[in-house]
């Protein structure tokens, strides 16, 4: 079956429009939920609105949108307030108070619906699933264009959320990062908090029965989380999360139609697929993000530990040569003495030979002149530190080696000179080993220096 044959711009375009609007509106609010560590609130509120819907239905006796919207919005705000109240008065932690409130309200809603089952055509399933696929069916004529009602609703919500973020940007920023400071500046962080909660509730209700609440829950957390892996700046965070949200909505609709066809099935749940697409984007960003990505952090860590091992190797060779202990300068001995894996030692030795610090004869290694300068600086740093720790910091001499071993990698020429001055120009360290003379030229070089 050809994928394009099922693609109809009239239908799928509106579905994507609804998905994108929902994603952008949710991620605008969601950024602040993630920053405030309240990511689960979207989930809680979207479950908890059930009794509001049921009550609106039981009171008005119809499935009109407006009463249901208000019923659900009221209960949504109530959820946020109740959990806040339980947290303050009962000193229950955030997650638990939310859990208590939303499960109770959901149960209440279920009971109300089941009690009135005879007259109610209200499926609790539609709260969770929604049916974004039916978006194009219910339209309102706008000018000479049939615009789906859902798109209009979500468009209005998106504009409200955008205005909220733009107008209250300063307040939101301050209350999210430092509520105590915001309070002292007279910003009423509690009010901002409840305004945010109201928007979350409206968001959850607006997408009830239109796109499905699982989509809101996903779009409130996942794009914001992905964006926070990319940037530290709040404006970029907001923009990035909106873009990621919109992108996952588009990808979700495309894959919902095309992916199952490759297994011979018809299209599947669009909102589920949008959530899944957002999750995939998050995974990619979390792994490959240039600043905070898992892969980058891993590589950075590996590079650091290898270059430290490289310096340790040079210092080891220097010490053995100093002792005249040539037979222990083999890769096997280094691996055992420096407690490293053999691939790591091989890489490091190859690198040090390549950069001209080490030479090899048989299985024995030796320092080149250039390598000896670097190694002598390291050993000098090490022994000066040992002397300093005993002299000035009052550390007992059996503990100094480990500390000096860590510090030597981050000590440069001016630092060494200062250490030497403070320890009154010693010629040997507390263990009696001679301290090598300064090798590097007076203008401080960067050898052996690293930003920690």
């Amino acid at each position: 079956m050809d994928a394009t044959s099922t693609w109809m711009w009239q239908l799928d375009g509106w579905i994507i429009a609804a998905g994108v609007l929902c994603a952008v509106a949710s991620s605008l609010v969601g950024n602040f939920l993630v920053l405030r560590r309240m990511s689960m609130l979207g989930d809680a509120v979207s479950h908890a609105v059930l009794p509001g819907l049921a009550a609106a239905f039981l009171i008005t006796g119809s499935r009109q949108s407006m009463p249901m919207f208000f019923g659900a919005a009221i209960v949504g705000v109530l959820t946020a307030m109740l959990s806040q109240w339980i947290r303050n008065f009962g000193k229950v932690d955030e997650g638990a108070s939310m859990g208590v409130v939303f499960t109770t309200l959901f149960a209440l809603g279920l009971v109300m619906i089941v009690r009135a089952a005879d007259s109610v055509d209200l499926d609790p399933g539609c709260v969770l699933y929604g049916a974004i696929e039916f978006t194009p069916l219910d339209t309102i004529r706008l000018g000479n264009l049939d615009v789906p009602r859902v798109v209009i609703t979500l468009g209005v919500v998106t504009i409200i959320n955008l205005l909220f973020v733009l107008l209250l940007y300063k307040e939101l920023k301050l209350t999210s990062f430092d509520p105590a400071l915001a309070d002292t500046m007279g910003l009423r962080s509690a009010w901002v908090h409840y305004a945010l909660m109201t928007l979350v509730a409206i968001m959850a209700v607006a997408s009830f029965e239109s796109v499905g609440n699982i989509l809101v829950v996903a779009m409130m957390v996942v794009p914001a989380a992905a964006a926070s892996m990319l940037t530290n700046r709040l404006p970029w965070l907001i923009v990035a999360s909106a873009v990621i949200g919109a992108l996952s909505a588009v990808l979700g609709q495309l894959t919902a139609i095309t992916l199952p066809q490759s297994f011979g099935y018809g299209s599947t749940s669009t909102s589920g697929m949008m959530a899944l697409a957002a999750g995939t984007l998050f995974m990619l960003v979390a792994i490959f993000s240039p600043h905070h990505g898992v892969l980058v952090a891993f590589l950075r860590h590996q590079r650091l530990s290898l270059s430290i091992l490289g310096e340790d190797v040079l210092a080891y060779v220097f010490r053995q040569e100093e002792k005249g202990n040539q037979k222990e300068i083999t890769s096997d001995w280094m691996r055992r003495r420096l407690i490293a894996s053999s691939p790591a030692i091989s890489i490091v030795l190859a690198w040090q030979r390549l950069t001209g610090n080490l030479t090899r004869a048989g299985d024995q290694y030796g320092l080149t002149d250039q390598g000896r300068i670097t190694a002598a600086s390291l050993v000098r740093s090490h022994r000066l530190w040992e002397q300093y720790l005993v002299d000035q910091a009052g550390v007992t001499s059996d503990r100094i080696h480990g500390m000096a071993e860590r510090l030597e990698h981050f000590t440069d020429r001016p630092f060494r000179d200062e250490l030497e001055r403070q320890t009154a120009f010693p010629s040997s360290d507390p263990h009696g080993s001679p301290i090598p003379a300064e090798q590097s030229s007076p203008p401080p070089t960067n050898s052996g220096t690293r930003q920690p």
């Binding site: 560590r37 638990a96 989509l215 957390v221 989380a225 749940s269 959530a275």
Partner: protein, 469 residues
């Protein structure tokens, strides 16, 4: 460690005969109801115990995320089962699928939390929504399977408590027994993990490993509970009993036991009510009953209950007011009779001056004066107040203590911050006798033969100094 668990196990064993007798009276030996009540009670017991640990680990919503994370596994198990020639709707197959995807969700949470800069809540939110979305996608495909409708799968979301069969009860009992055994074996480690993660890891326990075990138990309890009470209401069983138990005790062991009992009783009562009345879904009833338990605990809980706390605060305020009034009268009298050695019992002080000393309302001050009058500590006479002789003794004691405190803070302020609770009833309770002796010697230089030391900051500005502390 084992002994305190016996009540739980004996309770679980004792529950069938007792509840059966009870039900025989109430429900005319209905076998189905008996199975439902027994199964849900066991579930409440297990979920309550496991939930108390996740609550203290500040991961109450872990069950929320993990129970949503089981959905794709259930749907995928249904889809792939025919390939292996198994019936897609058989319970072990679906539960295996749920366990696998629940475990993947659990690992994802741990990975996100430990490898990225994101916090716990974001990790939970991501896993919950993305996995559930994946589940919906898989369900959408499962619906088109030639094997037919997926109605059975829906029960995993909403629960089908009324149709629990004996086999389910056995599953639940097995899961409960496993989690109880794990909790007993790792009780000490779990306790450390919940209260002091840093200390636990410094003692060489793998906190990730322990978190993994805890999450695995949540997954275990969740998957067996899913079709009993449904996805959303399963979360309630993991959160509400534990949160309710927290109001009653500060001991971990008691909290775990209490939480298990509250879970079990809520399930029993909820299931029975639902069986008694028509059109009351049992899953929802169980949650509502446990919510009632929570509300009662929050109000009346003996350790952290709202009422108890309010009463404690009220009593503390009374005690502080009493001290302030007595000392205020004494110091006013003292400042008016500067030349004479000491104020006497019958010296009258205007209440208006007393009111100006502090930021207290006139009503609060008068209420306290009235209370003191009833105790025979003060006498009042149109707008004036005076100390009786027992009142004077008490006022002298309080003033002396207050000034010793001031002196202590002035001379030993560096010690004071770390060792002193200034709200304490009396300085003898919080300072060592040696320290008090030393202070009293120090006071000798201020002393002019009176029983009460002169205020170290002078008397001319009584109202300011009193107001300032």
């Amino acid at each position: 460690m084992f002994a305190p668990w016996n009540p739980i196990t004996t309770l679980a064993e004792a529950a069938p005969p007792e509840s059966i007798q009870w039900l025989r009276v109430l429900l005319l030996e209905d076998y189905n109801t008996r199975v439902v009540v027994l199964a849900t009670t066991l579930l409440g017991l297990a979920a309550g115990a496991v939930g108390s640990f996740t609550l203290l680990r500040k991961r109450a919503l872990l069950g929320d995320a993990l129970s949503h994370a089981t959905l794709p596994g259930i749907a995928l198990a249904f889809i792939t089962a025919p390939i292996f020639g198994v019936d897609g709707k058989s319970l072990p197959v679906l539960l295996t699928g749920a366990a696998i995807s629940g475990s993947i969700g659990m690992l994802t949470i741990l990975l996100i939390r430990n490898l990225t800069r994101l916090k716990e809540d974001a990790a939970l939110g991501i896993v919950l929504s993305v996995f559930f979305g994946g589940g919906l996608v898989a369900l959408g495909i499962a619906q088109q399977m030639p094997e037919g409708h997926v109605a059975g799968l829906e029960s995993f979301i909403y629960g089908k408590t009324a149709s629990i069969i004996a086999q389910d009860a056995w599953w639940i009992a097995a899961a409960g027994a496993i989690s109880a055994a794990v909790l007993i074996l790792l009780y000490k480690e779990m306790q450390l993990l919940c209260f002091d993660e840093g200390f636990a890891s410094s003692r060489g326990y793998s906190t990730i490993g322990l978190d993994f075990v805890l999450m695995a138990m949540v997954v275990l309890v969740t998957i067996v509970g899913l079709q009993a009470v449904g996805l959303v209401l399963m979360i309630a069983l993991l959160v509400i009993p534990a949160a309710a138990a927290r109001f009653w005790t500060s001991s971990m062991l008691r909290m775990t036991l209490l939480s298990a009992v509250i879970g079990a009783v809520s399930c029993m009562v909820g299931a029975v009510t639902s069986a008694l009345a028509t059109r009351l879904p049992s899953g929802a009833m169980i949650v509502l009953v446990s919510a009632v338990f929570f509300l009662l605990s929050m109000l009346l809980g003996s350790r952290r209950g709202v009422v108890v706390q309010a009463w404690r605060r009220w009593r503390l305020r009374r005690r502080i007011d009493r001290r302030h009034v007595l000392r205020g009268i004494y110091e006013l009298a003292e400042s008016e009779r500067r030349d004479e050695p000491e104020p006497v019992a019958s010296q009258w002080v205007p209440i208006s001056k007393l009111l100006a000393m502090r930021t207290w309302s006139s009503m609060r001050l008068h209420a306290e004066i009235k209370r003191l009058r009833q105790q025979g500590m003060v006498r009042t006479r149109n707008g004036d107040v005076t100390l009786t002789s027992p009142g004077l003794l008490e006022a002298i004691r309080l003033t002396r203590e207050h000034r010793l405190w001031e002196l202590y803070l002035i001379t030993h302020a560096d010690v004071a911050t770390e060792r002193v609770d200034r709200d304490a009833e009396s300085i003898e309770d919080c300072l060592e006798p040696v320290m008090i002796d030393e202070l009293e010697t120090l006071l000798d230089q201020y002393r002019t033969g009176d029983r009460v030391p002169v205020s170290p900051h002078g008397l001319t500005d009584v109202s300011r100094t009193v107001g300032s502390n």
